[in-house]
Point group: C2
Chain length 238, copies 2
Amino acid sequence: MAPPRALLFDVFGTLVDWRASIARAGQALGDRLGLPPTDWAALADAWRACYDPGLEPVRAGERAWVTLDVLHRESLDALLPAHGLEAMPGTARADLVAAWHRLDPWPDVAEGLRRLRARHLLAPCSNGHVALQVHLARHAGLVWDAVLGAELARTYKPRPEVYLRSVEALGLEPPEVLMVAAHPSDLAAAARCGLRTAWVARPDEHGPGAGAEPPTHDVDHRADDLLALAAALDFNRG
Amino acid sequence: MAPPRALLFDVFGTLVDWRASIARAGQALGDRLGLPPTDWAALADAWRACYDPGLEPVRAGERAWVTLDVLHRESLDALLPAHGLEAMPGTARADLVAAWHRLDPWPDVAEGLRRLRARHLLAPCSNGHVALQVHLARHAGLVWDAVLGAELARTYKPRPEVYLRSVEALGLEPPEVLMVAAHPSDLAAAARCGLRTAWVARPDEHGPGAGAEPPTHDVDHRADDLLALAAALDFNRG
């Protein structure tokens, strides 16, 4: 089987550690503003738990396309009172929403993408909008060939349009493209669109030692990190 | 005035020498296939002359979005007989259409973009589709933060949607973005959308010594090449 021409990447959790990054950003903000003591990792978890329900009206066509900045602000406003932070000023809320543009990558990511880019076209296929991905790439030192994903289709994964418009934008057919993600539902949706799939283990996404989410379908590759994926794709090339 | 946050670039003529590159690709194809002797630079000129009329039905909403690959193939098929090349096989026509994905940059471009990228976000805002820009960037050694332009808006410059969707995708307002082009009409359209403008002289675009097309409105910058533009933007920063 020919190697994939392009690799598409999930970003939140697969490439960047949103939980620890948001917790650190919250702690720094709390220290700077003298906010009440808060379990910022728990707030990050609660915020992320609002994510999928927030996307659903856009996926269902009940709400026009809005970016994650809009959805993140809405869900942050909704959950702050339960965390004793109802007095957080609007500018601080905007700062915390912007922290999703500055998430830190897992340690293997910059070098792993550099190796993979020697042989494949690379693009994010994330629910994060273009501006967020552009800022994240600069922050984390990632180099992409294009920024694809939800904004191109103006709906959210796992809707098939997001994967298919990304493949189409590269001028390719789905079997020529490998979707890389740490999340079984993302890979299953990509596989239903005809893409090849690679699962990457991210056991610390939900906290140190929380454990990875093993794939629920027969993926083409399983790897411990992007360096292992790069080695596996090189080996398959023979 | 604050420096621009992002620079958007016209590509054909501004960054890459389409005329000499297409002529070289045609000559190489003609030699390989034993095609009749042809003035390939004249064919490149005739092909490019079909460009704007081909875009017009898409701009006018009379034709659904199609990529430049489709339009280039249609116009090539139409003009080959007048150049004595009606016998060119379909695979060779497809090769020549694909040569628009492998155009050579002007000598200052790779280093100029590298310097500009130290201080600004950079993206093409071209009528070339994403796949074409991705291939061109790999061929010419260009590094972009995102690939924006016509495909995002599914219409063609100088329609305002192309500039405005590209600015929106970066999460910016038009005055925060500088449009860089060698062509007055492109810059005038961007200025009407509220973008800042930089004109770059490309006197050899239409052949050695053919002369540059000076801007028709009051642009914010005029530069002999991208190195001069990078120096001017650095100087303005003070």
